[in-house]
């Protein structure tokens, strides 16, 4: 062990290793002398991560991606991405002797002839559903707590791209078994693409290698699904996590938490134990679901054929909003002009859904422009303390939810004995008006909660104790909150509407006018945080509180 003494850097690892001596020390020394890894351990080993349940959503997304990679690698050893036609001769009797593609046949073999194959297929599919869901919830958490603010705007964009790529992975994977349902999904994609002006027909022919369905598409989607998209996703996840290290994690407002510190547990040992353990829990839950619940039973659907389709077909949940949007278009939105066909029933869907998701992507920049706030923000907003932002988010969620519900319009109609027309018309209304209603209600609720917070800070919380005063009057005793709890209620950023001022040329630009309008919309009915003066004055008003204390 003499080699260790030649290194005089007093890093934790080699010191620790020296003490334990023996194999661990020499192994650590061997690796460090070849990798300089002690530096990384020094930098990252005691890095602090704050604790909160909502921070686990991103972890769920990351872990389900790892599960997808593991189970997917297993599947690639058995799956064959070929659309050549074979006659099925596997173990599943009802489909025996039926012609199908090699892709479908090999997926059937995974399900019915390889032990544990069905389990891995179901783990892969359930984990994929969870992956997109976790990303979505993670994004909502980021949005509603304002974690996308400077310096994290770019990481929001990276995360957004990951969300889109996750959906693309989902769709390409869904299409690989080449069963009836996935073939219908591709048929819809083909129809959508053909509806695009000028290039649609050609793009469809390029994608499918000729007329739909052709014999190329599954192989092409397979390349995207297992090579190109995962490579991009892995690279972007690496960037996403690197940014978390660079920025350090955000934290919720609490006593002792400031914009200049980060409070939590060190990576080694507590965070590693909890996060590492959580990976196994997520994996275990996915495994449990996959052992108990069937997903995508392609043997019930049969191989793809352009002619049959069953009622009540549903896409995987994350495609639902786009499918639902297509269902909500009223009859007749298509016209011919100058000998060309304009399919508004498709274009409007593409444009509206496209605008919606692009708005999600650029929202951090819009808000930053309106507030003009150039500060770094590391302490999260409680959603109520940014009422307009929270209300916009609620409006967006309502819009998305309406589209999503529309993807099940037929199922709702049959389950609840409603007319198809009634369901669609109702959802058309909720899609158009629901967001406004959600905005209004959410904003009012946030403002009310803020007022309640103010009241609690200034006058304490209702203790439930009724006291009779000497004069015969009954009062409820209000208990003041302690200073730690109080800090949680008063520490938030405050903004006022933008005051329009002429620039050096004495003019007010159009952009500034728009900005001022938006700023007024955001902040005109703000509730300011309680100040020291207000607090002392309030205490003066309530001698009863103090005596009860």
């Amino acid at each position: 062990m003499t080699t260790l003494t030649t290194r005089d850097t007093a890093d934790d690892q080699s010191v620790g290793a020296k003490k334990s001596g023996g194999f661990t020390a020499s192994a650590a020394n061997y690796i460090d002398e070849r990798t300089s890894i002690s530096g990384a351990v020094k930098e990252l080993g005691r890095k602090i991560f704050p604790d909160h349940w909502s921070f686990l959503l991103g972890e769920v997304a990351l872990y389900s991606f790892v599960i997808i990679l593991l189970s997917g690698s297993f599947l690639t050893f058995f799956y064959q991405a070929s659309m050549a036609e074979v006659v099925y001769e596997g173990s599943y009797a009802p489909l025996k002797g039926i012609p199908m593609s090699v892709a479908m046949s090999s997926t059937m073999d995974i399900s019915f002839d390889i032990r544990g194959g069905l389990l891995m297929r179901q783990v892969h599919h359930w984990a994929a559903l969870l992956f997109v869901a976790a990303i979505g919830l993670h994004m909502l958490r980021i949005y509603f707590t304002g974690a996308f603010r400077k310096p994290r705007e770019l990481n929001w964009v990276i995360g957004f791209i990951l969300f889109i790529l996750a959906m693309a992975e989902g769709f390409t994977g869904y299409s690989l078994p080449d069963d009836l349902l996935s073939g219908n999904g591709l048929r819809i994609i083909d129809g959508l693409i053909k509806g695009i002006p000028v290039v649609g027909t050609w793009v469809s022919f390029l994608l499918f290698g000729g007329e739909f369905p052709g014999t190329d598409i599954v192989g092409r989607l397979y390349s995207l699904h297992i090579l190109l998209l995962p490579a991009i996703i892995v690279a972007l996840i690496a960037m996403h996590l690197l940014f978390i290290v660079v920025h350090k994690h955000t934290q919720y407002p609490a006593a002792g938490h400031t914009n200049e510190n980060v409070v939590g547990y060190p990576v080694l040992p507590v965070y590693a134990a909890k996060a590492g353990g959580f990976f196994f829990i997520v994996f275990g839950v996915v495994m449990l679901i996959a052992s108990l619940f069937t997903i995508n039973p392609i043997w019930n659907y049969g191989p793809y054929d352009p002619s049959p389709v069953s009622a009540g077909t549903q896409p995987d949940w994350y495609i639902g909003f786009a499918d639902g949007a297509m269902r909500l278009i009223p009859t007749g939105w298509e016209f011919v002009w100058l000998n060309h066909t304009y399919s508004l029933n498709i274009l409007v869907v593409l444009v509206v859904v496209g605008l919606f998701i692009v708005t999600v992507m650029v929202y951090p920049f819009i808000e930053a422009w309106i507030t003009g706030d150039k500060r770094e923000h590391h302490v999260l907003d409680r959603p109520r303390n940014a009422p307009t932002r929270t209300a916009i988010g609620a409006a967006g969620v309502t819009f998305y939810a309406s589209l999503w519900a529309a993807a099940s319009s037929d199922i709702m109609a049959t389950h609840f004995h409603l007319t198809m027309e009634g369901v669609i018309h109702t959802l058309q209304v909720t899609t158009l008006l629901g967001p406004f209603l959600a905005f209004f209600i959410t904003k009012r609720v946030c403002l009310a909660l803020q007022k309640k917070d103010r009241e609690i800070v200034l006058h304490g919380y209702e203790s439930g104790r009724i006291v009779r005063l000497p004069g015969g009057e009954f009062v409820e005793v209000h208990q003041p909150v302690d200073e730690y709890e109080r800090w949680k209620l008063v520490s938030y950023s405050d903004f006022k509407p933008l005051m329009l001022r002429p620039n050096a040329q004495g003019k007010i630009g159009a952009a500034e006018k728009v900005r001022a309008g938006l700023s007024r919309w955001f902040f005109e009915d703000r509730i300011t945080p309680v100040t020291q003066t207000e607090l002392s004055r309030a205490h003066g008003d309530h001698p009863a509180e103090i005596t009860e204390k």
Binding site: R46, I48, S91, D113, I114, L118, L119, N184, I188, G195, G200, T201, F205, L207, G210, E211, F212, H247, K248, A255, T258, E260, N261, Y265, A273, K274, G277, F280, F283, G284, M287, L288, A290, S291, D305, S307, P308, V309, T313, R327, T331, T341, N345, I346, G372, D373, K374, E376, H378, I424, Y484, W487, V490, S493, K496, S519, F523, T528, P529, L535
Partner: protein
């Protein structure tokens, strides 16, 4: 308490989030001088495992028991792999194989996870650490040095000065990916005209209507009132290459109705035969098969996006996102009484496309 010792200058700032750094003139943030003061960390509360040695021992036992349970789960999964083999043509064996391997693995994974988290929460030190943050932007000397490096590189290479070199390089870099784009032309067939292909199907004069998928020809007499048939052109079921592509265009729904219920246009009166009508089954919205026929109302429903077509009225759209009626296939009866097509469809079937009109 963990301390970050990166050595960058420490930025002091008040605890109030509003008081940090200079707010630019354009900012609408309100900086209150009178805000409350961050009280600092609340006192640390020890856990029961910190106070009670017995509880600590109990937690320790729980953790290692869970890890042993995980080993049991893994072994169980391996045993299940062997004990529950898949028996050919017995779907029940697949279910058992799936269930027991899965449950074993669930146990193996969950026990590790819960054990590790419990270890972290109950036994490891629960003292929170604090790292200091530094502004994300580099420090002034670092930024100055970065600028200097770029300037020096510019100086030494002449990137800014030798504009001809620079611009020609940019040009070359812009142009060089173009061949790759062109190569992708090979994705689509070179010898096909998409527009022409989308305008034609397998149907032509004299082709018999046959059942999907058997390919049996259909006699007009066999089509009873109120019945509907899924139909493909004669010869399609025997096709090897290109069968699905042709089927995706040629699939037809055959329906016999009371001729009095049919409202037919003058020029299309000859397209039906004794109340038997044939319509393209491919939805004019995005191409799903319009496979659901409501016998009572004579409506066809597309299960994908719920477009509804009225068979009584030349399959006009009565609800849903589709715009165009389903194309009608003109039919007749041949000498042997079998249904045949009079011609191909008179318009392209399926979803709209740019060159359609």
């Amino acid at each position: 308490m963990a301390k970050d010792d990166n050595g960058a200058e420490h930025v002091t700032a008040a605890d109030s989030p509003g008081a940090q750094l200079a707010t630019s003139a354009a900012s609408t943030a309100v900086v209150t001088r009178d805000s409350l003061v961050n009280p600092g960390f609340p006192p640390h509360r020890p856990r029961i495992t910190d106070l009670d040695h017995k509880e600590e021992r109990k937690a320790e036992r729980t953790v290692y028991t869970l890890f042993y349970v995980s080993i049991v789960g893994s072994v169980f999964a391996i045993a299940a792999y062997m004990a529950f083999p898949i028996v050919a043509e017995d779907p029940g064996s697949v279910r058992l194989n799936n269930l027991f391997i899965g449950l074993g693995l669930t146990l193996a994974l969950m026990a590790i996870g819960i054990g590790a988290v419990h270890w972290g929460k109950a036994l490891m030190s629960d003292h929170e650490g604090v790292d200091e943050r530094h502004p994300v932007r580099g420090t002034e000397p670092v930024r100055a040095r970065a600028v200097e490096i770029f300037q020096q590189a510019n100086e030494e290479s002449g990137f800014g000065r030798r504009t001809l070199i620079r611009n020609s390089l940019i040009g070359a870099l812009v142009v060089f990916p173009l061949p790759a784009v062109v190569l992708f032309r090979g994705l689509g067939p070179m010898d096909q005209d998409p527009v022409a292909l989308l305008h034609e199907t397998m149907w032509k004069k004299g082709v018999r209507l046959t059942m999907d998928p058997s390919g049996t020809p259909i006699k007009a007499a066999d089509v009873t009132l109120g019945s509907s048939f899924h139909v493909i052109p004669e010869g399609l079921s025997e096709m090897g290459h290109g069968r699905l592509e042709e089927k995706a265009k040629a699939a037809v729904l055959l329906i016999r109705m009371d001729p009095n219920d049919l409202t037919e246009q003058e020029d299309r009166k000859s397209w039906s035969y004794d109340g038997i009508v044939a319509y393209s089954k491919i939805c004019t919205h995005v191409g799903c098969p319009v496979a659901l026929y409501e016998q009572q109302t004579h409506h066809l429903l597309c299960p994908c996006h719920q477009s509804q077509f009225d068979v009584e009225n030349h399959c006009k759209v009565i609800f849903g996102p589709a715009k165009r009626a389903l194309p009608q296939l003109p039919i007749a009866v041949d000498a042997e009484g079998y249904l045949i097509a009079q011609s191909d469809f008179t318009e392209p079937v399926g979803p709209s496309f740019w060159e359609r009109a």
